[in-house]
Assembly symmetry: C2
Homo-oligomer: 497 residues x 2
């Protein structure tokens, strides 16, 4: 893997001085393309043994580029909020917007490498982790975030020499030390092997590793500048990704066998009388209160997703859930149009920033499933985008449940006739009128398209850890009880008792 | 203070049912005005003894209003990030945008009240705290955030009865308990007195307290709805605040005595030779490295502000500071145009969200002083707005230094002739060309206006805790050394050694 870099790579100071001005100008011009177009952002990951010059490379890039559109991203001094969220949350929090460059010291590779070196991670888990990272990076790339990965290479002997110099405090400038835990020769050996595997297994066309010989500072910086320039030019040369498509037209739905609809399997005649409703809702609410205030919930968290047709009763079901929860420990997130900070980042960013702290609850009134529902049907994103969203969403929810969150997802289903009745009622009751817009009536025409989208969504994203619950919502009382009871059951199953 | 509320206030269920639909419709309509105009936001603070129904009022408001534009704000379960920032940071973080309503359980009054009740806060400090709060609320009001403060009132006996019921677990719904620490009769007595003082001393025309009799739930909710409706209508009826003014015109500067300029007092001929520069910069950088990596810095933090004319050398001074700092523990914030999330909130929000965690450094390349510099001169805000900004900024910096941050502020000064030379040089060096825009040349015409603005700014915001340092920047080497040395000196003075 590291064969050729082991040979001497040197650039004398004079040669460096000669090539620097042109490189600098080219880099700036390429960066301005990135800034002006605001189509993509770039993450530059700087890794390598301590003493290889990670901090020096970073400072060099700040000197060469327009520093106002650069950010340094580091993750080694947790500020508390990081500990209270899933591991990936911190990467999302600091993600730069399109047009910007983020330079990362200590990325998602860092923990995996240290854990592997210290023997905390077996080989197969390590490989599986790298596979997760590949998928994560593929998603970022598809969403407009390019990734350039640098491994500043020192031979084992050279690295050890520099490490000793570091330990003796021979460097007076701040040194980025990331490997202080890796201490014994055995651990160091394992780190080198792991690094080789990382470079081998996670070099993809969209996010390649570049192994940069780092013995000579001038060579190291010149090569870094050169590969960065190539990357920026490649980004600029890329064909523009379609971000919108034609809205689907119900008339064009392919004929032949009628498509299967998961919604057609529901028995919408289910109902509850008022008395049973009160008793059962009350019982479920009490269970939810008890479980979410018990000690075991502190290290967990609850994420509830509500999707459904317009007027299916999402708000009223949420209201009943609200009453069972301590208002200081939950938040409802109505999903509206993205802000400009959100539009400048991958679509999941909007939801990652709303992931609750451990011990808290987040209720989403519509959610990330918008991508495979309204965005698909209305053509707000390309078929490629919503096509890959199923897998991305599964990964997202896996990360939540791996971190301890209990993910509960509801589809509230009503018939078209019931929807028409509810729309009509909204038009007459003054304080309900605001819930109805002309768009609601228009959306009804696309009912079959939504039905197909819902069916595919449930098929592809109902997982063991985050299953969908279909709620027969023709009768509001029945729906509210089913929602509350499902939440209580899931909490009980996950927390025990 | 609480005389009239001590009498019985009751509304029977039937009367409540009769008035509710109209109240609900009026509230919704008033809320829609708020949402549509997006001019202001509203904070509703709910306080009162445990058992008075804080959670019930909150749920009622969610039932009455459009819940999608409501947020619950609570601050009692710190998630780690809160502990690593100044006390006020959490209030800023969650501030709703214009058009939205935030319902607060446990506001800035909470800590003050508890501390007073427990005897941790003497009477004069308590009163001073309330004065700080008054100023804070006045600022929010002027910036478009209205505040409605509710004290749910129970008589002492009734409160004690309910407290006992709470302790016995007679309530099965989640209860917002905020006063569990206040336990002995003496503490409770002090709390009642303190509450009375809060209502008396912090009831202002722009943020009044309403004492709501809370024995009877229907009366309590109806009164809450009514005062909320009044507030929303008052907001709607308010004349639109001018948010822009005519740009100042240099020709119109009043004649007579030439205005004093702080910049005229600087000796711009100060310079350093290359050798002294290298030595002194190096020495100052090493001191900065040592001090910001020492243990004492962990509980502190550093905030450095750079202001100055265009081309005064801010970036190059920042670059030299950067090299002395651990890249994992600082961040440079170039202040650019606000995003739409920022425009929807008071102007200081943009900077509060960038306040570093304790132990970290934030460098601002231009800052909150934009309000009294470019915004003043260009008419981007009204004279009232920049006029009150001096005091608001002093308060902001006080909060930072009270929390342990070391605040250092630089004005980099060059002559108009030197600026012209630097602009010309930027036009010829390829990799510097990006730093020059046509606007830069235009701004030069307003030089005297900026000089007046800088003079007033320094006069009004140079404080003992956050003094301005004027940097003679005609010679870049001299300027860089003065900046680095000033930072080192301040760190040394604050941290000792």
């Amino acid at each position: 893997m590291f064969e050729s870099v082991k040979f001497e790579h040197k650039l004398d100071k004079a040669a460096f001085k000669t090539l620097e001005p042109a490189l600098r100008e080219d880099l700036l011009n390429a960066q301005f393309q990135l800034i002006d177009k605001k189509r993509r952002s770039l993450l530059v990951l700087i890794h390598g043994p301590d003493g290889a010059g990670k901090g020096a490379v970073l400072n060099r890039l700040y000197g060469w580029l327009d520093a106002r559109k650069l950010q340094t991203l580091t993750f080694e001094t947790p500020d508390g909020a990081e500990r209270a969220h899933p591991p990936a949350w911190k990467y999302w929090r600091d993600l730069p917007g399109y047009g910007e460059i983020g330079i990362m010291l200590g990325s998602w590779y860092q923990t995996a490498l240290v854990d592997r070196a210290l023997g905390r991670l077996g080989r197969s888990v390590f490989t599986a982790t790298l596979e997760d990272i590949r998928r994560y990076e593929a998603m970022l790339d598809a969403e407009g975030v390019s990734i350039l990965k640098l491994w500043l290479y020192l031979g084992a002997d050279e690295a050890l020499t520099r490490l000793k110099a570091l330990d003796k405090g021979h460097y007076s400038r701040p040194v980025v030390r990331q490997w202080t835990q890796v201490d014994t020769p055995k651990e160091r050996q394992r780190l080198w092997t792991a690094a080789e595997e990382v470079v081998r297994l996670t070099s993809t066309p969209f996010a390649p590793w570049h192994v940069v010989p780092a013995v000579d500072g001038e060579y190291r910086d010149a090569m870094t500048g050169t590969v960065l320039l190539e990357m920026l030019r490649a980004i600029d040369g890329e064909a523009e990704r379609p971000v919108r498509a034609q809205p689907l037209n119900p008339a064009e739905t392919p004929a032949g066998l009628p498509p299967f609809s998961i919604l057609s399997t529901l028995d919408l005649s289910k109902k509850l009388d008022e008395k049973t409703y009160r008793e059962e809702l009350n019982a479920a609410q009490h269970r939810i209160t008890r479980l979410t205030t018990a000690a075991g919930f502190e290290k967990r968290g609850l994420v509830v997703v509500f999707e459904g047709s317009d007027a299916a009763g999402k708000s009223s079901a949420i209201m009943r859930l609200r009453r069972a929860l301590d208002p200081r420990r939950f938040r409802v997130h109505p999903v509206a149009a993205p802000t400009d900070e959100e539009r400048a980042r991958p679509y999941l960013w909007r939801f990652w920033r709303r992931v609750p702290a451990l011990g808290h609850t987040a209720i989403f009134d519509r959610s990330w499933y918008g991508r495979v529902l309204v965005e698909r049907v209305e053509g707000f994103c390309s078929p490629q985008d919503w096509g890959r969203a199923y897998g991305e969403i599964n990964d997202f929810e896996d990360e939540l449940s791996d971190a301890g969150y209990i993910v509960v997802k509801f589809w509230l289903a009503i018939s078209q006739e019931e929807q028409a009745r509810r729309f009509a009622a909204r038009e007459t009751i003054a304080y309900k009128r605001f819930k109805l817009t002309p768009e609601d009536w228009r959306n009804r025409e696309k009912w079959p398209l939504y039905e197909a989208a819902v069916t595919e969504m449930v098929d592809r994203t109902s997982t063991t850890t985050a299953p969908w619950t279909m709620v027969e919502a023709e009768d509001k009382l029945y729906a509210r009880v089913k929602v509350a009871r499902t939440v209580a059951d899931r909490l009980e199953a996950e927390l025990g008792r």
